[in-house]
């Protein structure tokens, strides 16, 4: 009387209603009850629909269609996907007792293998012809497989290239990457375009050699390690050493004069004619005081519209420990900004203004410019 699919859906709907009732009564109608009821309603609808169309299977009266249907055909094709699923499950188990990397790799293998296996199984029941089923499988899964395979391949090549570039000295990298390799690529491309009868296997072989060489080079360079990259002095170092003055320092050399993140800052502070003004989103007009939330990193955009270079500084007056040592940085500052330039200053103040006698203020060293900062 009831088809197989209908039995599953009716059973699932009934179970969902029962669970919803039990959960709702036991938890006094807690939020999860609504989710279970929604699931039950959806399953009930699907059960009704499936009852009406009787699982959409081939009619038992249509003998030819019945014998030609996929269900009546022979056994499944061989497949490696079950092996991948098993491997994934085992690696997950191993990862649970060793480390997260194995767990993650196993999970990826399990999900990928299960998806491929499901599609493989579905395609085998699509029709009675194996060639058609194979094409159907490709149509279904190629939009996912090809981009993922391409992305993985590209990631491997890029990563190997980066290890090679990081392993070599800077000057050598410049010569190799932007000189020799570029010339070789152009030369090979020109040869391929001229020699039109170049066989596919030759081309494939040549490209494979290049990729393998790159991956091997990347592996070797990765094992050797990166070259020494000298550390640059930053404005954080300036602040630590109490050097946020109007004088130029090493951190200001080649400092960027523009900021990529231009929107949704806490305020835009402009230095012009010896004064600081704040443009605060949401407020109309300029401000002479800025309100920042306590213990919240707030981005302030500093724009220098004066003649000459300037930097924005804020003294943080951090609390001190029992030995009188500050519990946080004492000041923050931007790099020196040229006329028309901008810099971003991220300010985190963890004390309210009323706890600091002199309060907080943004200043520009070498000028009397001052903008009060209020922390409620």
């Amino acid at each position: 009387m009831f088809t197989t699919g209908s039995k599953l859906l009716i059973g699932s709907a009934a179970a969902a209603w029962i669970f919803a009732a039990i959960y709702g009564i036991a938890n006094d109608g807690a939020l999860g009850t609504l989710g279970l009821i929604s699931a039950a309603v959806a399953l009930t609808f699907l059960a009704g629909l499936n009852l009406f169309v009787r699982d959409s299977t081939v009619s038992a009266m249509d003998h030819d269609a019945f014998e030609d249907s996929a269900s009546a055909q022979a056994t499944a094709r061989p497949s490696l996907w079950p092996l991948l699923v098993g491997l994934g499950a085992t690696t997950i188990t191993l990862g649970l007792v060793t480390n997260r990397t194995f767990f993650t790799l196993g999970l990826i293998a399990l999900i990928a293998g299960a998806l491929e296996w499901m599609v493989h199984g579905w395609s085998e029941r699509a029709s009675g012809e194996r060639a058609y089923n194979s094409a159907a499988r490709n149509v279904m899964i190629d939009p996912l497989e090809l981009p993922v395979a391409g992305a993985i391949g590209a990631a491997v090549v890029v990563y190997a290239f980066s290890r090679v570039m990081l392993g070599l000295p800077t000057a050598t990298v410049t010569v190799i990457a932007f000189g020799v390799v570029a010339v070789l690529v152009v030369a090979v491309a020109a040869l391929v375009s001229v020699k039109r009868d170049l066989s596919r296997s030759t081309l494939t072989g040549g490209l494979s050699i290049v990729v393998i060489a790159l991956i091997a080079g990347g592996a070797v360079a990765g094992l050797i390690g990166e070259r020494d990259i000298p550390e640059h002095v930053t404005t954080a170092d300036l602040a630590e050493q109490n050097e946020c003055s109007a004088d130029e320092t090493e951190a200001d050399h080649d400092a960027s004069q523009t900021v990529a993140a231009k929107s949704n800052v806490a305020a835009e502070v402009t230095y012009e004619d010896g004064e600081l003004h704040a443009d605060v989103p949401g407020f109309d007009g300029d401000f002479e005081a800025l309100t920042l939330a306590r213990s919240n990193p707030s981005n302030v955009m500093f724009r220098n519209e004066s003649k000459g270079e300037a930097r924005l500084v804020i003294d943080l007056h951090p609390a001190t420990d029992d030995d009188g040592l500050p519990l946080g940085p004492e000041r923050l500052c931007t790099a020196l900004v040229e006329e028309g330039g901008t810099q971003l200053l991220t300010i985190l103040i963890d004390r309210p203004s009323f706890d600091v006698e002199q309060g907080f203020a943004l200043t520009v060293p070498g000028s009397a410019a001052k903008l009060q900062v209020v922390v409620p």
Binding site: V41, F52, T291
Partner: protein
């Protein structure tokens, strides 16, 4: 497999069950009435703008949907496999394809123009009457009202001293005012959502997002965080309270009143000491002093991963606590406030919480064991990921006497 036709009786039973299932779906999927967060009952200009846009789009979509489902149902019924020959197959009809492309394109154009206009209108934050800074943090909302260049707070001049006001849980705004919030977050992405007053706006750490609110009349409007933000996302709620101008002025002036210490020798005075020793590590009450007369300044940045805890100055002027998850007032009082007419609402709300209307049960449960009431990351054995700092209020191990003292002290905070 059996090749005989199903018996007529079982066919009828099957069809009847199918009809029951589909019919039950329609009945059981009906909406609740009078829900506090019903987006289809706007109470402000911006929510009304959204409603004015969406109802006719919903109508169009509904008509299209009914037509599509009706055609599907017709095809399912008429061409159901009863053993008849497969119909003649074709490669399609160009004219029909052109029509079925043009109609949806036209519909989308008709929908797009007013939608575009509405989106820009909703995001216009110029000429605000009131600006409030909103900061989301796991799992509560902080509101601070800055002093503007004219010395006003939220467009109103304080009667006394002007200073920023900081509060949490309930955001109080004037009625019929364009309120612009400047929202951000201290930790993860949250979303500020009060459905009867406007849509959602994400609160993103490191960014300030503006959003508008407007309330037509006095009342209280419920909302909740609309972006999954962790363990107690479902318990991160907010309420917007709209007051008439006179009531808002009273509220504002009250918030700026100087701190009043409890009378010596009372339970509240003992509670004040308990607060200083137990609670002031994280919670700030402005003006509170210690035994030496020094201002007590909280240092939540040392104990809380996100760096702040709710400011409890004038706690009892609010109706909720713990991220607006629980009421500070009894159920009767809550019902009275929520169901009050706009004319009565202001006076009721400004009464605040009294000894008679205090919801002692929930407040004491919270003080007794906050993590048991609201899931938070406060287990001292599992704080390695946050450098030993908690996300939320930890279990304090207070005695019942301490809890009673604290309640006696807090009830006076208004």
């Amino acid at each position: 497999m059996s090749t005989s036709l199903p018996a007529p009786d079982s066919n009828r039973i099957r069809l009847r069950m199918a009809a029951i299932c589909v019919g039950a779906t329609v009945v059981l999927a009906s909406c609740a009435s009078d829900a506090p967060q019903d987006t289809w009952k706007p109470e402000g200009k911006y929510a009304q703008d959204i409603q004015d846009l969406q109802w006719w789009i919903f109508g169009i979509a509904g008509i299209v949907g009914v037509i599509v489902f009706a055609v599907i149902a017709f095809v399912l019924a008429k061409f159901k496999d009863r053993g008849q020959p497969i119909p003649e197959q074709s490669h399609g009809n160009a004219f029909i394809e052109y029509v079925f492309t043009a109609i949806p394109a036209l519909l989308l154009l008709v929908i797009a123009v007013p939608t575009w206009a509405a989106v820009f209108a909703l995001n216009d934050t110029d000429n605000a009457d009131c600006v409030v800074n909103v900061t989301g943090q796991q799992w509560w909302w902080e509101y601070d009202y800055p002093v503007d260049a004219d010395g006003n707070i939220c467009g109103f001049a304080p009667t006394g001293r002007a200073a920023p006001i900081i509060t949490s849980g309930q955001m109080v705004i004037p009625v019929d005012a364009k309120v612009v919030i400047r929202g951000t977050s201290r930790d993860v992405i949250h979303s500020f959502w009060v459905p009867k007053l406007n849509g959602k706006r994400d609160m993103v750490p490191g960014r300030v997002h503006t959003w508008n609110f407007h309330a037509n009349q006095a009342g209280i409007f419920a909302g909740q965080c609309g972006e999954f933000c962790g363990l107690s996302h479902a318990n991160m709620r907010m309420e917007i309270v709209a007051l008439d101008d006179a009531d808002f002025q009273s509220w504002l002036d009250n918030q700026l009143e100087p701190y009043q210490s409890p009378r010596q020798g009372t339970r509240a005075a003992t509670g004040e000491q308990t607060f200083v020793s137990q609670c002031s590590r994280c919670h700030q009450i402005d003006g509170l002093t210690d035994a030496d007369g020094d201002l007590v300044v909280s240092s939540p940045e040392q104990f809380v991963w996100s760096g702040a805890a709710p400011n409890l100055t004038n706690l009892m002027t609010r109706n909720t606590f713990a991220g607006a998850s629980w009421d500070l007032v009894t159920e009767d009082r809550r019902q009275r406030v929520w169901e009050a007419s706009p004319d009565e609402f202001g006076a009721l709300y400004l009464e605040g919480v009294t000894s008679e209307t205090l919801n002692e049960i929930d407040l004491k449960e919270w003080l007794r064991d906050a993590p048991a009431k609201k899931p938070m990351y406060t287990d001292p054995e599992n704080l390695e990921a946050t450098d030993g700092k908690t996300r939320g209020m930890p279990f304090l191990g207070l005695s019942e006497d301490q809890i009673n003292d604290l309640v006696a002290y807090l009830i006076e905070r208004k």
